[in-house]
Symmetry: D2
Subunit: 354 residues, 4 copies
């Protein structure tokens, strides 16, 4: 249980360091008979990949996935789907600035302490490059889920907040701009702000919102494996995430119960949806929506003080091509993790009744 | 994997409905040789139990735990610790108002849809009464953790917010008032407000903050089982929780990286602690702190409209003795779940190096 | 993962020491809607209980099960089924002969070494009394499986072997004698032999055979969780078991492939069944049959030499009421474990296809 | 839980079909800091590979492993070890004889029924080629276990049985002949017999024995995860295995308890070792030894009758290059699975005491 597996039945195990030979994974438990749309998988990878727009890191990595198994004549066979994405960009780097010293708010220090040493190249296993494997598996999960739609978008960059609720937005516009904010005006402001931040050699955080529609009633398991608890874990497992809230979230604590309660309509749907589509840990058929908070990227292109592995204070300089703000590229990752959770609970829910 | 087990090595499985014969659990994987302080276990149960103060439900349930196994001559044996808490209060209730209709924002509807029928008495398995079993196991986990201290407290009730950070509070005052807010003045305001809300037959939400000190470096597993991801899942699995954030949390998204980054001191500690004691999913030795958002209790003592199981709109009336605000009693539950997570990762961390 | 949980979806966790307050368990993942036949559960417990006949231990333990949860109005609710069997016979025993010294071929020594100390009363957790909890859960699994029939019987006691294959036996006669051997003549010989052995204060081993009929095609998961691999683990986890074989088993190694291969008939069934109902780890619809070898009970009513916990050689004397041969009482345990395996794979098999 | 993962902490997940792009796996939970001997890993692969001697299949597959991650500067990093073995031999085969019809005693039929269709090329996922991935992970486990020695050897081919117990054999001779039987005379007989069988186009079964030395006291978890239960499952998960016995095994059932019991010596070791190094599911420090029964390979080079997927009786002809007897090549597989079990229990045993 060293932490590289996610899911109970629809189960992803990932491997790989940022600058090793390859990253990849094994998706076990994916049902047989899914006719895979390979372009859709690559499309989600492309939404995550570096170099896709002017406001993300300018590294060039094609992120092409190679499938080794589990697919035959275009369909999933029910056996494990092994896949890899080669690290084409991993050579001849200069890591002298991170080999022996610890970058602030990175995982360098804790990996060294925990494991005794670490693959320091590009962050090794702690690099967000690992999430490409999640996107592959999530894209397959989406195809399994079929009628359930999962759409994430950027709702905040720094203090720039999209105030409209998702119901007033045209989520189809999400992919129309580099920020992945479905409100064009806000998107433009966010884009300008990110460019400004980048010029400073600095970074900024943001929030990704996600909406899941057409969820059947009954997904999620009491008591510990509540649907929103596993969604929360899924999101918090993404690099740089600091918070998760669903439905009324942190704002909901101020409300009175008489206002917060979602009144039923005759068909079992509810008039309001403060519950965020989940009651008692189980989906109730209403839209599921949640917010995920991302901290500012730790790598800033500035000089800083830190310690080396012998405990000496040293001066260092951030360099390389990094994201000034992680949220535009993290949108498909949020969707992928949501898809993995829903796929798992969909399978589990088949086993509940006589 | 029907969701009633928590943890990988230090593993709690709970059972029981609110108005069945008993609730209880099995704690498996608890190391041998812990000299158990039974009073400390009962004390945590008493902090959670109904009827303990004027601002919580006035139901009387003694919540005495009976241990069946796993303890011999006062020490844990390494074998599973089976325990039960009898439901002494479960008889001769009138459930006619919930048997055939669905209380808004409760789990009644989804249980019926998921399982085909439900034990409707007092909410059945979805009742927060289940959390008493977690408190028992968490109290044992605390004794295993020994030098790690876990202290939760109420930091918000409705819009009444304790603005001071935990470092400026005397957390020993937490138990000095019925609200469990360590700031006496704020506590008094919260208490008045809760009483007022109760008079209205209404309820209100709140936030519990938690601080964990003396955590060794190295707890938490990459990639999916990050320390904060499992803490988040643990908290989100508690009834009525709608959000979780740690360290800088949702506010942190507004910060620039150059400000958010925690600079190291020569001893490996950091000057600031926006990371909240966790970097890359692994504890770095600094204090871990996080917030948990609780929605207002769904049971309001008011009349309401809802549907019955045949889809007819019906009128109903909330009644019984319920909590106007759940956070004062949820403080030991937050601590218990945090203790279970830390105990599990403490054991896992023993297996990491050659 | 301290080893007290069995199953992935249909999941039993047991607790309890032989002479603590109670033994019991939690059965999680049992589907909702099973109308439980409580008499059938008690009947299986009675088949396992001490004192049931002249050839088993004469201890008196009623072994009545108390259910705490998961059952409402006679049906399973889909929530965890908590249960306990009280140890009514546990007091005022004299354990001086085992407290500080180690009985040969018992678990006393290894428990002390592994855990640092042990609950020595009656063998503690290593006592076969624990298997009563398995019988409870297995009896529920049988009711879930419904049309699949599971019948175990004694096929060997010491060197007395029932040579006929199961297909030539009337398995309904199994319960007609104390040995649980369906061949009356062999049963009588076995019974005489066991009585003789008991008079010597000695014990003897035996073999239990088990036949499972009406299994649908498709149960079992490749690669590691092959149906027969999990059946084997289930059987080997029963106290005193030393071997497991299915289908042609150890004898099959002598056969040529051209003879061993099971030729198909047009309906997909096979003419012979050397495969024992399982091919490639997956049930093929033919009868599953297997043998389980039990060693002689370690407690002999004789004097013996052993060591105490300080490594001194000491003399000791076996005493108490023990089974001269364990197989008659182990028949329902074998069935219970088989039922748990099949129930788990039945649920898993629902998740395999799109 | 689709069955492609083995182990709790030292955890192997495998993927791959016989004639897809590659087979491989992810080994998660391998402790950091192991200096890997790559030659030793390849050596175990070579012991398993086709074409290594005159009595095994003459297919040519180099079986070179490529590591993608988890190793840095020659040492394990504690992160998942991803690896692959390319299928170099997979093209331009003629599968017309197995595409639409079912080979007797193969997994063709059950895969089709379970998953709806199958990758029929070379047996797909059910091919024993998958075990190469186990050998890779097992070779790493051996290096982690270090002082524990695991030695398997062939003790029976058809009716030719090596009667001497392991203690009277020089196990270093195991690799001195193609059969992997440490008794040269018996080995020669076995080799002749296998050649004869091959000439007939037939196959025969066999038994592999395994001895594990220098095991510390304390490995194995009660109740369900007994050391020998997990060893048994590990062995039964290997293709073609029909039985498992350890210590006195099936023969032990005939013994009396007074004879079977292993008397302690002052140092905690025992005079006899009928227990096979395991008592109550926990290693006692004595040698662990067990037998694994393999059925004759199902593919015979003869004509046979079978059914096609529409239920028509058809004639077919076995062809290709297959093993006349699987046990010589299965020796390193048995060792690998034993190593995985012991590595897992070694890690688990670190978490047992305060």
């Amino acid at each position: 249980m060293a932490g590289n597996t996610f899911g109970t039945l629809f189960k992803l195990t990932t491997f790989g360091e940022s600058h090793g030979k390859a990253i990849g994974g094994v998706l076990d438990g994916c049902p047989s008979g899914i006719i895979l749309d390979m372009e859709a998988i690559q499309n989600d990878l492309d939404r995550r990949k570096p170099g896709q727009s002017a406001i993300v890191t300018q590294r060039k990595e094609p992120d092409n996935v190679v499938f080794y198994s589990g697919i035959f004549e275009g369909r999933t066979t029910g056996t494990p789907i092994g896949f890899a994405i080669y690290n084409t960009n991993q050579k001849s780097k200069d890591y002298s600035h991170i080999k022996d010293s610890y970058r602030p708010s990175h995982a360098d220090y804790v990996y060294d302490k925990k494991y005794g040493f670490r693959d320091y190249r590009g962050g090794g296993r702690s690099s967000a490059r690992e999430t490409a494997s999640r996107v592959v598996a999530g894209a397959i999960a989406k195809q399994f889920l079929n009628e359930i739609s999962i759409q994430a978008y950027v709702s905040q960059v720094g203090s720039l907040r999209l105030e409209k609720p998702y119901s007033e937005l045209d989520l189809k516009l999400t992919e129309s701009n580099a920020v992945r904010c479905p409100d064009p005006e806000t998107a433009a402001n966010m884009e300008s702000y990110i460019k400004e931040i980048r010029k400073e050699g600095d970074t900024v955080g943001g929030i990704i919102s996600c909406v899941i529609k057409n969820v059947p009633v009954g997904l999620g398991e009491p008591v510990f494996d509540k649907l929103h608890a596993d969604l929360g874990k899924a999101m918090l497992s993404i690099n740089a995430v600091k918070g998760f809230e669903y439905g009324s979230g942190f704002e909901g604590v101020k409300m009175k119960g008489s206002v917060h309660n979602d009144q039923y309509k005759a068909d079992g749907s509810t008039i309001t949806n403060n519950s965020g589509g989940v009651q008692g840990g189980i989906s109730n058929g209403m839209d599921i929506y949640f917010n995920v908070a991302f901290k500012p990227v730790a790598t800033v292109i500035q000089s800083y003080e830190t310690i080396d592995k012998d405990g000496n204070m040293v001066k260092a300089q951030g360099k390389g091509r990094h994201d000034p703000c992680v949220v535009p590229r993290a949108v498909p990752i949020v969707e992928a993790m949501a898809a993995l959770v829903l796929a798992d609970f969909t399978l589990l829910n088949r086993t509940i009744k006589l």
